[in-house]
Each structure stands twice: as C-alpha cells, then as structure tokens.
C-alpha cells in the first residue's frame, strides 16, 4: 500500500486537513479528494496549462506537483474566482463577452494564469498578453478571443470593476 501523510491546505480561503497518498498529484487531490473539478487535466506533463492553479498567489501546474508539496500553502482555483453565485469576476465577464472560450476545457487554467498576470501587469499590451498565455494550449479559439478578453478584463479591473 502506498505511503500516506496528513496535509493541511487552504483552498479558496477554506482550510482542509486530509490524509493523502504521497504520490497523489495536487490536481488529483483537488479534483478527487476535494471535489473541485473545475481544475482540468489536459496533458499531465506540464505543457497544456489546463491544470494551472495559484499556489500562494503564483501560477503553478497542479499536474506536476504532489499534494504533499502543497502542505501549509494556499491554493486558489477557478471555483473561488467569482465573488458570488450571481456575480462573475471581471475576468470571467470579459471572457463571456469576448467569446474567450468555446468548449471551455482550457479556460480554468487560462483564467488562473491571467489572474496572476493582470495583478502584476494591470495595463498590458497585446503582445504581453500573448506571451503570458503562451504556456496554455487552446484548440478551439485560435486565442484571438482570449487575448481580447484579457485586454478587456484589464480595462475593467483598472476601472475597479
């Protein structure tokens, strides 16, 4: 039987104390043990970026991390983005309004990547946005709607929306 350990992780502001197998990835921990299935797995080798979450505010690939490595850290996932069940985060609104998603499978990873990017670069150029999301693969959109959404979101967030 695989070795297990106790971990404590704060996810979207809520503390979870759980026993996990040491080989369990952070992505599988979030999805299977916490039921937070908004974080998606597209390649499980760190290229597609669908599994991107924030670890202490910095984007990280949850498929390349073990759950035990997240012990005593803060995780943010897509489920924590919208301020309420009736309201979307301005980034989510911008994605909706600019057709920044089609099938939506890559979207959670791209949203979390952009949360970090727009926090650090509130007024980016289009080229900077393209570089920021160049570690996220999308097969549906050709990225054009995503880039437009990111720029629109930056504008909304600068206005305090």
């Amino acid at each position: 039987m695989a070795e297990s350990r106790n971990i404590a992780v704060t996810v979207n502001g809520k503390r979870h104390e759980q026993r996990v197998e040491v080989r369990l990835t952070l992505a599988d921990f979030l999805r299977q043990q916490l039921g937070l299935t908004g974080t998606h797995l597209g390649c499980e080798h760190g290229v597609c970026g669908a599994c991107t979450v924030l670890l202490d505010g910095q984007s990280a690939r949850s498929c390349l991390m073990l759950a035990v490595q997240a012990n005593e850290h803060e995780i943010a996932t897509v489920e924590g983005l919208a301020p309420s069940p009736d309201t979307l985060h301005p980034l989510q609104e911008a994605f909706r309004d600019n057709h920044g998603l089609q099938c939506g499978f890559c979207t959670p990873g791209i949203l979390m990547t952009l949360v970090e990017f727009l926090r650090d670069h509130p007024d980016p150029t289009e080229d900077e946005v393209r570089v920021a999301i160049s570690g996220n693969l999308c097969r549906c959109t050709g990225y054009q709607g995503i880039v437009a959404a990111a720029l629109d979101a930056a504008k909304r967030m600068r206005k305090g929306g």
Binding site: Q32, G42, C48, Q92, L101, Q102, V131, C140, Q144
Partner: protein
C-alpha cells in the same frame, strides 16, 4: 424577435467559467472503480500468451480482463462501424480487445480495473503479454508495393479499397491541352488534440437491467446502437449520455473499443467503471488524419482555363476501418468543387498501415483536396506567368451559374449541387482586404532590406450539413419554460446556444426561458450527432420547424383563451398578449397547463393534448459554404522561420445565426490549419512506432505564433433549408495549408523553391533553399 443573427450571450458560458461544468472526468458515482488499458507496444505482433497473475496480486486490483473474458458477454466482438461503400476489398473491423494479434501501437489488449487510476496503471504495467513481433508497415505507398509485409496476418494484401471518381473524358482533354503540368504532393497527418482527451464512465443498474454510458462522444446515438449490437441488448437497456465535451474535432465521433470494454467491465464487475484517456494514450489510440500522397496533373488552354484534371491518390487508412472511405472520397470530391473543370478523373487507393485508424479530423479530407487543387493552380500561374488570383478568377464558377449542378456524386450517390454563393466576389474581397494589389511594393521594399515577403491565396468550398436529418423536439412545459431536445451533440461549438436562438426566435425571444438538452439518447430516440459541420443546418432546421408548430398551437389556444384572433397575438417572453394591448395576455405556462389536460374535462377548441412538436427535417443535399484565405508571410531565409504577417479569411456560410460564434469557428479552424501547415508532425519510425507522443514533441500553435485573423462574412442564404444556413465548423481549416505554402513559396521565389508538401518546418525550408541553390 431578432434573436437569430444577434450576438446573444452563450448558454454554455456561466458554468464553464465558474468551473462547475460537467465533463466526463467530473462524473463520480458511488462505488466507482477506475480502469487503465494495457496497449500494444508493437506496430505488429502476434500475442502468444497473457499472464495476469502479478497484476491481480496487487492490492486494490479488481479485475484484469482480456478478450477471452469478454467473449461470453458479447453477441458480436467487433465494432462494425464502416460507412457503406462498394469500393471495399476487405472488411477490417476493430475487435473490442485484441484477438491474438496487435496491428498498431496503442491497440487495447486488456483492461485493468482497480480502486483508483494509480493502482490500475501500476497493475497494467504488471500484465505480462508475450508478443512475437511481426514486420510492420508504416508508409502507405510501401504498403501497396508488391511483396510488402501484410498489416494483418490473415489478409491477402494491404489494399483496403479502391475507387475512381470522375466525369467527362479527362484523357481527351489532356490530349488537346495547350499546357499540362504535373505535381507530386504529400500531406501529413495530425491528431485532433482536443484539450480534453476521451473518456467513458459506465454504470450497470441490475434492478432495471440498464446500462448507462457517459462518453465524450460526438455521436451518442451511434454509440448506443453499437453497444446494443455488440452486447445483444435492446434500446431500452442502453442509454448513452454525452456530458460537456472539451473539444471534439472529429476523432470523438468514432465509437472506440474503450467505450464498449469500459461498459463490459461495469457489467461484469457490477460496479461503475471510469476510464479517462491520458494524453499519451490520445497520441497512440485516438484516430488521426491526413496522410495522403498525390500524383496529379492539370490541363489548361492558352488562357489558363482548366480543361481537365486527373491523377491518383494513396490514402493512409491505418490498421482498421473505424469510419470508412469517406476521407479520400471527400478529398477527391473537393478538387474541382468550386472551379469549372470540364473533365476529371481521380483514382483512389486506400492503403492499410500498422498505425492507429484514420478517421476525420476537422476538415475531413477537404484540406488535402484543396491543397492539391490550389497547388496545381499556383503551378499554372507560375508557368504561364500570370497572377495566381487571376488564374483562379478565370476558373471559379461565377455567381450567375448558381445553383450549379456539378457532375460529381456525393458518397450516398446523390449529385453534388452547389446551392448558392459568389465565389469570385469572395476572392476579390479577400484580396482587397489583404492588400494583394499593393503587395509587390511591400515585397520590393522588404527585399531591399534583405527580407523575404510572400503572399498566398487559396479558395475552398465545402459541403456542410450532411443529412439526411437531425432530430429536434420543442416542448413548453407547465412551468412555461421552453425545452429543446436534439440528437445533435455539443462539443464546444455553441450548439445549445444555436438551438436556443432558433427556437427563441419563434417562442418569445427570451433566451433565458429556453433550456436545451443534447447528447442524451434517453431524451430523444433518433439522432446522428456531431460531424461534418452539420448541426446548425440539420438540427437547426428541425428545431425551427418544431418551434413554428409549437408557436402555431400556442397562439391557437391563446386565441381561444383571450377570445382574440391568432393573427392579433404575439409571444413576448413567457407571455402571449394581444398586439398593442399588453394587459390582454396569457402565460405560456397557462397554455401548457391547459393542454396538459384535466381528468374528465374537454380540451379547449378541440386541440390535441400537449404543447410540443418533434421534427426531423430531411435534407439530403448539402449546403456548400465557401471562402478565400489570403496570407502574407515573411520567411527568414537563414533560420527558415515563417512569420504570418497578415491573415484574411472571407467566408460565406449563408445566413449567420450568431456572428461572434461564427468568427470563433473560423478563427479556431484557421489556427488548426496553421498547425497543419507549420507545426504539427505526428512522427512514426520505420516500424510504425510513434515517436512524437508528448506536447513537447508534437507542437500545437500557441498564442505567440497566432497572427490576428481578419474575418469577413458574405451571406448567400442556402435555398436547401428553411433558415438559409450553412455549416462553418470545419471551414476555417480547409484553405490554410494551401495559402501558407503558396505564400512561403512566393517569398522564396528568388531561390526557385518549389513546395509540394504540408507541413513545412524551418529546417526543411532551409534545406529547400540550399537545394535550390545547387
């Protein structure tokens, strides 16, 4: 009114954005077990023995099932899925699990079921399969050579099918031609690489004797029929549900061994079983497309008008028939489609190889046919020293000849009729937007600075909305909500929004009052599903007709209730009121309750019970979308890097239901085409061993390589359906490789480089320049 054509918010977005959508891997059932597959590591081998002992000894393993374990539960152990054709020389249907022989790397040999996926994968590695490797065939040309090893031990040869497509007397046309030019072309395969891989969750309910399969399939009704046929069950005993799907792009339309084997594991173990494909499996076990070798010739007169085209294609079919001969059929049909070609003859050989089966990937044979035609036209222009766009203009079918009955036959034998469109105007618009006329000035200025610019153009035409029908039921429930059910399947292309728009247009214009259920065989008995850019045309038309019927009935009852003429009524949101008298109204809920009946009381006005209609509009002929792509590139002649400086697509998909969504389909398809032209290479070694099985080896386009795509629309309504719509899902991809290769060749014209393949990579471009120098 006015929902169709409006940029309304998508129904799909809120849950996808919040992370609470439900993809197949998000489904969790009580007592669920997890599966992993043991797959062939060989392109071709006989299986001498399978030893399960070590795997079964691992704690947490519930079962290791091989073919012999499944046989007692199957009426038919092969997936008989091939589309009809008289051209087959051999029937090669896939088995559920390998029967004594494996014929491609990735072929499923055994399923391991365990407490979790981690244990299942550990155990899969402990299953000992004793293989006797056999010679494998990788190249589809070599497969047809005399004395080639056979892909299947028992098969007489590697020719799966052979057919000729054509009309007129091509040889006579060539005999009288002023000019004849010949090209040898190759187009390479790729994968679909939806970011969500495939997956299946199966649950067997012994009390109801019912099997439910949640699958990321584009064709749930087809999957249900396959499960019924293979397991000997009837339609009431099998339900297939397509949950949210993270992209399809073709390979998910196929019914796979993993679907039926996961279902069997759940039935045998009496526990729900989940199998989720990982990316490495997707690289070896999901179908792929596009390897074709062409030898083709064009005959033109002195004015570059086409007299005839002839040639031959060798199409790589992979190891089994997982769909049919539809791809090379599409390729051959595409060549002359939007041009006036008086005589045409194409011989097609479909070759087996020891590779994963080949089935449609977005574009489905059309990119190859378009590539061949546009390469031939570029050749004519170069040889006759004419402008490439001018050569096309002279040969495009003019709008005055629409509708235009070609001499081609669709795969069902119906004549191919181009229903509407103005192809020359489309090209002209694209050229103008891309600055085609000014390009020589830009090129010459850049050349002085030592830079190499090129421009390319490609036209395409594609039959969309493949019939015969798609189903739709529209029902207003006692809640007043409008429910739409369709056999259409959504995979990210906004299908639910499309259906809701079309229905809301007739029933109150309130998108929030419409719910849409797709991809559930329990919701509607008939359905074909998602393929061939078909659903807006087919499901959209059925939904439209059903909504009209429900509207008519709702107004009739409302007229009775309000004591007003039906003609004076309108539906606004969830109310029907007298025009200009908003106070004189009755709710849709009240109407629905009225016809739901009360025991012992007559229905008003003698109407039939219920407020619903089901339609399956039969549309056999295809609605032909068309377009033109113009791309300007800069090629770095030192490194071979290609920069896409400008990219224009002018497109005509008839009446547009949602402009933003149509733009998204075109741009996304274009991105896929850019991958096919410049980045994606699915490598196999000479033993048919895949060598590019990660996203580090196989490159998808990222945001930094994508240029801004300028999209413009023309709207030539199709006369074939009541909405005037045409499909758009695959259109973007079709002309891209042809346009980019044309542009790169143009940029390298000072070196005399000729390009006859797609994709082209930097190292190959540098090599072509060096070779041309010699």
């Amino acid at each position: 009114m006015g929902v169709i054509g409006a940029r309304v918010q998508r129904l799909e977005d809120p849950s996808l954005l919040r992370g609470n959508a439900r993809f197949v891997d998000d489904i969790v059932l009580p007592n669920m077990l997890h599966a992993a597959f043991v797959r062939s590591p060989h392109g071709h081998a006989a299986i001498r023995a399978i030893e399960k002992k070590a795997a079964l000894a691992l704690s947490g393993v519930h079962a290791v099932l091989v073919r012999d374990d499944l046989v007692p539960y199957m009426r038919n152990e092969r997936l008989v899925v091939g589309l009809p054709s008289s051209s087959y020389k051999q029937d090669l249907n896939r088995p559920a699990l390998a029967i004594g022989e494996v014929v491609y790397v990735g072929e499923p040999v055994a399923i391991v079921v365990a407490e979790d996926r981690y244990i299942a994968e550990d155990a899969a590695a402990l299953v000992e399969v004793d293989y006797d490797p056999l010679p494998a065939v990788c190249d589809c040309r070599a497969a047809l050579a005399p004395g080639a090893p056979v892909v299947h031990r028992g098969a007489p040869h590697n020719l799966l099918a052979e057919f000729r497509m054509g009309y007129g007397d091509a040889d006579a046309a060539f005999a009288k031609a002023a000019h004849v030019f010949r090209e040898s072309l190759w187009q390479h395969r790729g994968g679909s690489h939806s970011i969500e891989c495939r997956g299946a969750v199966a649950s067997y309910d012994a009390i109801e004797d019912r099997l439910t399969l949640w699958s990321s399939t584009q064709m749930p009704h087809q999957a249900m029929r396959q499960l019924c046929d293979m397991l000997g069950r009837d339609e009431n005993q099998v339900r297939v549900v397509t949950p949210d799907v993270g992209g399809g792009f073709g390979p998910k339309l196929v019914f796979y061994p993993e679907d039926v084997v996961t279902a069997l594991a759940a039935m045998i173990l009496k526990r729900p079983v989940k199998w989720i494909e990982d990316r490495r499996e997707h690289f070896v076990a999901s179908t792929q497309e596009r390897d074709q070798y062409w030898e083709c010739e064009i005959a033109v007169d002195r004015d570059a008008r086409i007299l005839g085209i002839r040639g031959s294609i060798i199409h790589d079919h992979g190891a089994y028939t997982a769909r049919g001969v539809n791809l090379p059929h599409n390729s051959a049909e595409t060549v002359p489609l939007q041009y006036e070609v008086p005589a045409y003859s194409m011989n097609v050989k479909v070759a087996l190889t020891n590779k994963v089966p080949v089935t449609p990937v977005r574009g489905a044979g059309h990119p190859q046919g378009t590539f061949a035609m546009e390469r031939l036209l570029d050749r004519v222009a170069r040889e006759l020293e004419l402008d490439r766009a001018e050569v096309r203009r002279r040969n495009l079918i003019p709008a005055s000849k629409m509708p235009y009955t070609t001499q081609l036959k669709a795969r069902g034998g119906m004549p191919v009729v181009l229903d509407s469109g103005d192809y020359p105007r489309c090209q002209q618009d694209a050229l103008a937007r891309a600055g085609w006329a000014d390009f020589p000035a830009r090129r010459d200025a850049a050349r002085k600075a030592g830079r190499y610019l090129g421009i390319g153009v490609a036209n395409f035409c594609k039959g969309t909305g493949r019939g015969p029908f798609e189903s739709a039921t529209v029902r207003i429930g006692p809640s007043g909500k409008v429910h739409v059910y369709s056999g259409a399947a959504a995979m990210g292309q906004s299908t639910k929004t499309m259906l809701a728009q079309i229905v809301a247009e007739q029933l109150g214009s309130d998108m929030e009052n419409v719910t849409v259920t797709t991809g559930d065989t329990a919701a509607i008995p008939l359905g074909l599903g998602g393929s061939n850019s078909r659903q807006t045309v087919t499901a959209g038309s059925s939904a439209h007709l059903a909504a009209l019927k429900v509207r008519e009935k709702a107004l009739k009852i409302a007229g009775h209730v309000l004591e007003a003429s039906e003609r004076d009524l309108e539906i606004d949101g969830d109310q029907i009121h007298v025009k200009g008298v908003p106070g004189m109204k009755v709710s849709l809920a009240k109407i629905a309750r009225t016809v739901a009946g009360t025991a012992g009381y007559a229905l008003p006005g003698g109407v039939a019970p219920g407020l619903e209609a089901t339609e399956c509009a039969v549309i056999d002929d295809m609605a032909h979308a068309n377009g033109t792509a113009v791309v300007e590139v800069e090629v770095d002649v030192e490194t071979g890097a290609v920069e896409l400086r400008k990219f224009v697509v002018v497109h005509d998909c008839g009446r547009i239901v949602h402009p933003t969504i149509v733009d998204g389909q075109i741009i996304g398809g274009t991105a896929h085409g850019i991958g096919n032209a410049l980045f994606e290479w699915m490598g196999f070694d000479e033993n048919a061993q895949p060598v590019t099985t990660t996203f580090a080896d196989y490159l998808l386009v990222t945001a930094t390589e994508m240029p801004h795509i300028e999209v413009a629309h023309h709207e030539s309504p199709s006369p074939l359906n009541p909405l005037g719509v045409k499909g758009v899902g695959e259109c973007g991809v079709i002309p891209v490789a042809a346009a980019i290769v044309s542009a790169v060749e143009d940029a390298l014209s000072p070196f005399g480089v000729h390009i006859a393949q797609a994709p082209i990579f930097p190292a190959q471009i540098v090599a072509m320049i060096e070779q041309a120098h010699r």
